[in-house]
Symmetry: D2
Subunit: 485 residues, 4 copies
Amino acid sequence: MALLVEKTTSGREYKVKDMSEADFGRLEIELAEVEMPGLMASRSEFGPSQPFKGAKITGSLHMTIQTAVLIETLTSLGAEVRWCSCNIFSTQDHAAAAIARDSAAVFAWKGETLQEYWWCTERALDWGPGGGPDLIVDDGGDTTLLIHEGVKAEEIFEKTGQFPDPNSTDNAEFKIVLSIIKEGLKTDPKRYHKMKDRVVGVSEETTTGVKRLYQMQANGSLLFPAINVNDSVTKSKFDNLYGCRHSLPDGLMRATDVMIAGKVAVVAGYGDVGKGCAAAMKQAGARVIVTEIDPICALQATMEGLQVLTLEDVVSEADIFVTTTGNKDIIMLDHMKKMKNNAIVCNIGHFDNEIDMLGLETHPGVKRITIKPQTDRWVFPETNTGIIILAEGRLMNLGCATGHPSFVMSCSFTNQVIAQLELWNEKTSGKYEKKVYVLPKHLDEKVAALHLGKLGARLTKLSKDQADYISVPVEGPYKPFHYRY
Amino acid sequence: MALLVEKTTSGREYKVKDMSEADFGRLEIELAEVEMPGLMASRSEFGPSQPFKGAKITGSLHMTIQTAVLIETLTSLGAEVRWCSCNIFSTQDHAAAAIARDSAAVFAWKGETLQEYWWCTERALDWGPGGGPDLIVDDGGDTTLLIHEGVKAEEIFEKTGQFPDPNSTDNAEFKIVLSIIKEGLKTDPKRYHKMKDRVVGVSEETTTGVKRLYQMQANGSLLFPAINVNDSVTKSKFDNLYGCRHSLPDGLMRATDVMIAGKVAVVAGYGDVGKGCAAAMKQAGARVIVTEIDPICALQATMEGLQVLTLEDVVSEADIFVTTTGNKDIIMLDHMKKMKNNAIVCNIGHFDNEIDMLGLETHPGVKRITIKPQTDRWVFPETNTGIIILAEGRLMNLGCATGHPSFVMSCSFTNQVIAQLELWNEKTSGKYEKKVYVLPKHLDEKVAALHLGKLGARLTKLSKDQADYISVPVEGPYKPFHYRY
Amino acid sequence: MALLVEKTTSGREYKVKDMSEADFGRLEIELAEVEMPGLMASRSEFGPSQPFKGAKITGSLHMTIQTAVLIETLTSLGAEVRWCSCNIFSTQDHAAAAIARDSAAVFAWKGETLQEYWWCTERALDWGPGGGPDLIVDDGGDTTLLIHEGVKAEEIFEKTGQFPDPNSTDNAEFKIVLSIIKEGLKTDPKRYHKMKDRVVGVSEETTTGVKRLYQMQANGSLLFPAINVNDSVTKSKFDNLYGCRHSLPDGLMRATDVMIAGKVAVVAGYGDVGKGCAAAMKQAGARVIVTEIDPICALQATMEGLQVLTLEDVVSEADIFVTTTGNKDIIMLDHMKKMKNNAIVCNIGHFDNEIDMLGLETHPGVKRITIKPQTDRWVFPETNTGIIILAEGRLMNLGCATGHPSFVMSCSFTNQVIAQLELWNEKTSGKYEKKVYVLPKHLDEKVAALHLGKLGARLTKLSKDQADYISVPVEGPYKPFHYRY
Amino acid sequence: MALLVEKTTSGREYKVKDMSEADFGRLEIELAEVEMPGLMASRSEFGPSQPFKGAKITGSLHMTIQTAVLIETLTSLGAEVRWCSCNIFSTQDHAAAAIARDSAAVFAWKGETLQEYWWCTERALDWGPGGGPDLIVDDGGDTTLLIHEGVKAEEIFEKTGQFPDPNSTDNAEFKIVLSIIKEGLKTDPKRYHKMKDRVVGVSEETTTGVKRLYQMQANGSLLFPAINVNDSVTKSKFDNLYGCRHSLPDGLMRATDVMIAGKVAVVAGYGDVGKGCAAAMKQAGARVIVTEIDPICALQATMEGLQVLTLEDVVSEADIFVTTTGNKDIIMLDHMKKMKNNAIVCNIGHFDNEIDMLGLETHPGVKRITIKPQTDRWVFPETNTGIIILAEGRLMNLGCATGHPSFVMSCSFTNQVIAQLELWNEKTSGKYEKKVYVLPKHLDEKVAALHLGKLGARLTKLSKDQADYISVPVEGPYKPFHYRY
């Protein structure tokens, strides 16, 4: 696929796999709208006043059907949008096609190379001579990273005239980032400076991206305000937990059709994602073993009847391995070599470095048999037995299935809409400094409330007397900041 | 697709969708073999003595990857095999291709018309001038039905010279059956008599087919011995229960991506299939409501915390409807018209008459929007809201996903192999009359035992003293016939 | 406690712990009546016609509050009743007092010696010169055993003049049985012959007693008809399963207050009782390991995510051990010596020989520390660590808690009432030979139906057309005999 | 029981129910020690250095077996201790006796009147002429309240000479508090001032007490530093959640023996306590309906398949009602009058005002039938049907059972020990102002770590490289402050 930008008849840029899938995408978007009451309520509430009039939003977030509903919520509130995916396998091509045809500039397809991935990211950021973006929706922080690295390189270039050197790093992906910045520098040595000056703020979707933001805040390098959407309760305690509880078995089933009942499943990490994964495996009839570094999370696992051991303890007896840690180097080549024949190894954490894919790929004599896209059997020469790797070690729920379902993403994405509105509305008020913020609790509660009706739930109302007794307003918020849910 | 039989280079007949999928099928068959220890153990135990040498087996059973491993177990024991699917949507085309290329005569593809379906069935039964089949593997009883109806028509024809009249029935499918028999009569008025005289017996896979067999036994019309595989414990209490617990959510997810958590799911019927379905929905976070006619099953549902109501009570508030009854006319047009917008309606019972598809299709002004194959949205003119029908009302786990997973099918299919061996070995002994039999308990226990090792389970051994105390042999069988598990 | 029979003011015999608890017993009986809809419905349906007029019923069944409601159902239908408990620890003294005061002759108290236990049994059988009983309600078969052994001894005595010799057996309990029979012989050498001639039949409550009955049927020694109540679906699949699921944690909590979550629980046996126990432990947050001899039950356990191992594999790492096998010699002294300090060992199977109490008691240097009644810590001299034995190895749910709850016992006991009615009504018809029978399915379904209203369940009604389609009567029964539920 | 203080032979004051239960208490304390690894580890780690040498600690916390192990941990670290219970029904008399005899001054018995309750509280605070306490362990905040109210009254008295007027309030309990303060004032008008001047700080156990503390902090009236133990993760996410999951069914079973399976249970409130209660009821086979005011918690409930409705929606169809809100006026007389016969109503929140006991008690013609202590049936004259109230509306798990099990209380109480140590060690450093603090995360993690070994859990160790990658120390703490677990 040559990397040429295409244009719709209306002149909007895009690059997707197959525009003929747009109708199919549109049908699924319409189904998803019924499942995403928070986003639809946002359209009703805010649409008439067009609050994003004039705002240019760049998004880097899995280009799925659900994201399509988010994008069209942003555009229906007046925004202009350019979008890329934040993972090479996570795009749903019919969703990308429908949005590209109907609503926004999309650069995304399922199965990008890393080179293509960063090309898409760069395209999504490029608003042409008019400048932009004003706002960023980020997931994992790659767009934010590109701007920050770009600014850093431009500063060095300005001082020293030196271009960034892709060979200065061993990291294959970072090499590409440096190359892109280098090319950009040649065209416009202030490209990223202009961007960061214009950006009103970013709203970040996931744990991994948030971690990066807090690190930048800590070392003073953060260039614009950020809203941590991940730590809204209606995000981290919902999509991380219930989303993965749904999409882990979905991905396993679609990729391997393997019976989960009766199997031994190892879940590495027992945070919100790990809790969802462990619950799903247990409920499907697997025996679940958790690995953890944090004694509190480990103790939670034991209280649910899960065994807590180290990977070494169980590596040769388990059938399914799922990494959820957000850390790196969790399942290494040496682990994989000790596994049972056809053990399934997959990752549902944001980045693909939880599993030592490099070690596996470069192991002498190893053989890769692609059963179907995103499902590979790797055979070791030593034993002639193999393991099944899903989605090449990347997010298996998006690579092998369709990611989290619409309803739970509606919670997450309604937070995104609110965060973007907040940044945009306060763009001149000085309310937000170059720091990381979470949304106030009453907005978090509002997101939840918007989703209850669809499920037939009926809330109890506090009396004034009761509200006074527990010292909260009748209308909420109901909990102190430190409340854990 | 013109209904022309094709031939492999070796001269074996077949009709499949796309022979180029054979390699993919082979890869998945190899994965499945690792998950089907019972079948592989049968190959090891019986293969060397080639017990099926000379046996011609016709099978009518969902042509999936798992069935492929069953077929190749039969052929590796010496049988010659012809196969069709027992459901128009259940064939996995890559499985069919691999088997057609490598092992047996296959007539099956995903998405047959009813006309094509019965053509395939008739092909699978046609062993040419040499005669056959000797044995039948049946699922739902359509092959058995065809022979019985054929014999009946031939008897009438012999007595009266009258052909069967397709217009004598309103049932669209039975019209086709009569047409096929009529055509057969013209060619050979003893076609089905020859068949029934040769058939040593049938082993029947599922509840629905077994019910038909017991009816024929009761009215004295059964033409050859039958082994009821469905009621082996390792079948009915395993694949019906644990298989559906796995494949119902699988089908829902693949077809609709809808979040199951938080939804209200109605499961019609709380037999083994219903129990598996209800468990799956509950575990995924749905609120489950069961409908039942049998007070015992209803009481079981309540003991699991499930609400038992009638369909009328909940039709307008539920999100997901699953029929599992084995009965007909469960969800009628009038029910569907009262449902919420985008309520999902599906069937996991054997036949497609649980849902009133005819009523739906012929409702004036109704509009069918196909989201993707097997996922249709039907919009009612009265309300302009719609419901989602999966797999056109047929088995949704096979139509929308890949059916039960290999491990549990290994239990079922090992029973099939044992049943076929039993019928064949006793073909001249008179052990089996024209009745319905179940396998003896020690064989049932053997099937289970063959599957424990794969899961790392270790059985306790009875001492002689303990065995005497409970009056069972040390090696089993351990339970009385009436034991319910 | 001297074994003197006492009399109420109305002249009815009894022997209970403390008659002053009768009021308390009455209050709890009244509560239980609300939870036992099947028994109360039996009173309404059958009470007016007094079908048991003239019938003398002896019962040997845990003298609990629930049994009190059963007894008063029998008396409200016209029967005269004498009762004893079938376990030395299972009597609830307030229940015994209320019944003794108000309704029937009761001989039972919590904490009988074995000597006292058989004295009570013999009292319950002794209807004085008028003769009796006419009917027996048995649980475990001790009453039936006493009559059978009595008859056997009388035959020998008649032929040889020889009394049974208590020293002919090592079994401490059987010694007592022989002594009692010996004493009886001295008084009346036809005592048990007269009894067996009069007994119309016995209805047996539990697996263990049923096993004995089938053995007697097999060897032709059964002296009167027996109805196997245990294998009514509404008994074995309800009280064994759901009753134990309730009463196992109840007993553990009352006896030890130990936190179940996080612990490793070993459940020996995965029959109906074991399934209930394993479910309870899993749900409470324990990690459950099952031991099994039967590969089918073992495979069921794995499908629920439970690990199946041998006792030897886990004896030194588990925290809680529960025997449910109905077999003997499950947990032996050598096992107990290897357990962790304060491991809890208990039995919920009918007899107390699942745990090697004799081995424990006679282990040199072992020390017994009674924490409270039914909760003993046994300390081994070798390690100075101890284990906790509940209810001295007897039924822990009755010894340490109050047994199964009323609702599920209402199912079991309604079967008892129906069985007793059936035996009595058919006493002269010859319908029942000296064999073991189960109740017909329509009565089983009726028992279930009587319990649904209390839970707010609403059954679906079959149409005639549907009933014909599946070949059942509209009113049921709905399932074939071999159906497993 | 006359309120006379008694003395041990060694001269230590006490007032308990029955000193002869001390041996029994000691046996259960020894069992509990094995289940409380955190407290025992604290004894090993800190005991040798006697850090509490010279410290006088007053505790007001359910005087149970678990609390006994806490008290003896404090004394084994060098403290002198006086103790009362914080609930009139929660004392376990054998625990109180053992502690009174062996370790500390105890004023507590099961079934205190409110008058007695406050007498006990006042006794526990009275260290005589030497002064004290130095530290307070509080649960619900009654001890803290007494001092604060005392100080307030003394200030008014000093200014105006006026005594507090018990008739100034309608609240029966607060009347008593004012009386006690009034009496104190007569003896020593600076009694509470001296106390508050000496108190180094309080560590508060539960949500309700913490809420009071934050209110006092907010309005500037807090008189000494407070550590909020409740919001340690190893407290609120453990004992509130897993403790109640254990002790709610325990209390229900002991009080009523009712079968939980099949019933409809309403859980009012879905905080940590409510989550534990709902999980317990669901797992026991009940159908659970949640009432909530907070949309986030409500949405969590739906994700677990629980129905969210208002109390009014379900009041007449549910069987079991549990209040967990920490608010008042949840179940009112009008609700109770609409309930089914023998509906069970209980409270597991800290205070007894969740259920309108006053309304019930004063309803004309209502009849109270005490089944057994803490289990009352209240019969309405209108319908002659009744409801079952547990523990007179107070904490049912402590009133009807034995409260949370040892293991989870070991987590909570290890936090208490650490909090007390922290306050005492920093008494002169000025680290703690008159504010509310939570324990630092590394101590929270330490508490968890101390409990893993007992359960056989094995933690994974971070490599330095991994720790750097996620920016945490290798040894923890591993999570940001806002992490929710």
